[in-house]
Amino acid sequence: MTHHTPEELARQAKILYEELFPKRDELKPKDKLQIPQQEMPAQDPIERGKNLDEVAIGYTEEQARVEALRCLNCPKKQCVDDCPVRIDIPRFIKHIADGKFQEAINTIKETSLLPAICGRVCPQEVQCMAHCTIGKGLKDVEKSVAIGRLERFVADWERKNGQIQTPPVKPETGKKVAIVGSGPAGLVVAADVRREGHHVTIFEAFHKLGGVMRYGIPEFRLPNEIVDEEINTLKKMGVEFKTNFVVGRTRKLTDLMEKDGYSAVFVATGAGLPMFMNIEGENLVGVFSANEYLTRANLMRAFDRENADTPIYKSKNVAVLGGGNVAMDAARMSLRLGAEKVYIVYRRTEREMPARVEEVQHAKEEGIEFLLLQNAKKIIGDENGRVKGMECLRYELGEPDASGRRRPVVIPNSEFILDVDTVIVAIGNGSNPLISQTTPDIQVNKWGNIIVDETQKTSVDGIYAGGDIVLGAATVILAMGEGRRAAAAINKQLAG
């Protein structure tokens, strides 16, 4: 794919806009199918590999309005059904087409509090865009109406114009709700519960708020400023935040309820222990979990080598193991930290990769090399215990496995050595044991994930859970969907 400059994209959109808008009411579905999907303007691939700035720049007004014109406003609204927080998508898109951006953002905010974040990191192609009539007509889900880009456009418009409105809060009820973790699930519960007039305290283990949106997802994909803005809205609503507070350790979860007067607790502690491959050499110096690598770079600001006290490994050749969004983030971060050669090593093919197509594309544009149908066998160390290479095996695809994906099968005697000094393992997370270690009454499954019912309630009355601690590794929006359900149940409990 060739990179088009933002100026070029803006120019083309302007021409289209001037051509289409005078006759917009006469456009038939087949005309709308002809309107090209508006490409997301992005920083130059070579330049952006050297900075931390956001890669995707965002639509211009003309681009947004042209893209919005593609929506058929279908009566069935399949896109809404596929959205975990059920945003009225056709309605907000219609407002954008009409140039009514305030109305558009208000529509989104009826059901979603974090549009600037979701517009950036939701996997729309497997949610709202998956059944879009336009995408179906063009036989390519990636060509569906770019719902996320439009969501982002109006969220950014609102922020840039200083129009962010604080949602109204009902009169104080005097009841208190504790939320453990300030990631996406926790923030949604905070907003929904606070709106009903209950006092909400969010406890965060780190010194900064936002959970995975702060320590995990890099600045070039989700700027901190945006996370701060969303959290500010909650602060303005009166949500209380306590950082450096590890529930379970700093205070027992049950003490929050029995001694501190919280009527309900929502546990959203997020991803837990990073998984490793259990291969030889994994504890060598130069092998990192993606969690550690990204936390150093993002939360601890180690990308700023001059000013940050937290060091980050100086790498020349990096292998990232895994094919998800986190693997892409780690690979692209290592490139920005000065690595000369970065490989994604994945044992299946690109088709099976869990990462978003857009992330894979961005990574490729930046020069990251994909070693597909290959996997690590062992990591080789030098005499000082530091990584000096990685022995890999080649695979081919066999029969489908339980997940429906074709199972990769080792090709015998296919070993080869990859010349790397750093290995980043991005194959997912197990559950964090902290809450279950310190709150034995909460039931967990055999992987340590908290067991909840359809309202997100755990085995203990008054305690709810959601996000990655329940789902295993999932997405921001799925965590938010769980938060939405939990908040409804908590509000019901407190009203009763």
Binding site: A205, F206, H207, K208, Y215, T243, N244, F245, V246, R249, T250, R251, K252, G270, A271, G272, L273, P274, F276, E282, N283, L284, V285, G286, F288, S289, N291, E292, T295, R296, M300, R301, D304, N307, A308, D309, T310, P311, Y313, K314, N384, G385, R386, N432, P433, L434, Q437
Partner: protein, 284 residues
């Protein structure tokens, strides 16, 4: 945010600080640690074991040695100053019961984390043999406190400037040779000391606990930077530890991992020289 209530210099580059931390003081148990950070934006998170605490006063005590930039800057703070980030208590507490006779070995700054463990073991009714050691006399800390808790007390220095001229492994070996042998050994200090203490007790089959102080970022199990090889399995010091069976820990791998950022240590070394210089200037 936590206020420094008291600051004392214990030896050339070792400082004691009492910090206002009522919640941590309430929950902390022997063997647990805290993480602190001096600058919320650019600072580094460092784990430090809790050396003491008072529920009544709502305070905890940390003892640290100036080894890098963060401990250097920490040592420059004074009573009344705030530490922006203090989180804890983290890690699993020491398992305390009446084992019988416990030999407790502390090397250098390792005496600080050993102190609350000995306190708890003593309270549980154990007979305590304490061995503390340091390179030289000026580096010994908490001698009086440790002596007060011990049924038998041995001090040694590498250079013979105080107490017995020996490495701590010598009296440890003698303790293991007694009949009956000790029921448990606990060794806390520099990695190389813990390695050789574990090697010393192994032939006598004396179960030996060590407390590891690896590199950490979050301290809650999320990053895995602190992982060590224990009995062939990767364990996380922050949530599975900090205490492990010394006979099973791969100390060589742990020491290599502690040196992950060695190329950046010249910076730390410079800090060390700076503080020595500053202290000299102040006539200490």
């Amino acid at each position: 945010m936590s206020k420094i209530l008291l600051k004392k210099q214990l030896s050339k580059d070792v400082f004691l600080m009492k910090l206002d931390a009522p919640l941590i003081a309430e929950e902390r148990k022997a063997g647990q640690f805290i993480i602190l950070q001096i600058d919320d934006d650019y600072g580094e998170r460092i784990p430090l074991t809790i050396a003491d605490g008072s529920k009544e006063e709502g305070s905890i005590t940390i003892i640290f040695q100036v080894v890098g930039k963060t401990t250097h800057n920490l040592a420059k703070l004074n009573e009344g100053d705030d530490i922006p980030t203090l989180v804890g208590p983290l890690g699993l507490p020491t398992h305390i019961e009446n084992f019988g006779t416990v030999v407790c070995v502390g090397g250098g700054i390792g005496v600080a984390p050993l102190h609350p463990i000995v306190q708890a073991l003593k309270e549980a009714g154990n007979k305590i043999i304490t061995i503390i050691g340091a390179r030289t006399k000026e580096l010994l800390i908490l001698e009086d406190e440790m002596k007060a808790l011990a049924d038998e007390f041995i001090v040694c220095t590498d250079d013979g400037s105080y107490g017995r001229k020996a490495l701590v492994t010598e009296p440890l070996k003698e303790a293991c040779e007694r009949n009956p042998k000790p029921d448990l050994a606990i060794a806390i200090g520099p990695p190389v000391m813990m390695k050789f203490c574990s090697k010393t007790t192994e032939p006598y089959n004396v179960h030996t606990l060590v407390s590891l102080n690896t590199i950490m970022v979050d301290g809650t199990g999320m990053c895995g930077g602190c992982r060590v090889n224990v009995g062939g399995e990767a364990k996380f010091v922050c949530v599975d530890g900090p205490e492990f069976d010394g006979h099973k820990v791969d100390f060589d791998n742990m020491m290599a991992r502690l040196n992950s950022y060695k190329d950046l240590e010249t910076k730390a070394h410079k800090c060390q020289l700076d503080i020595e210089f500053e202290l000299k200037k102040e006539g200490k």
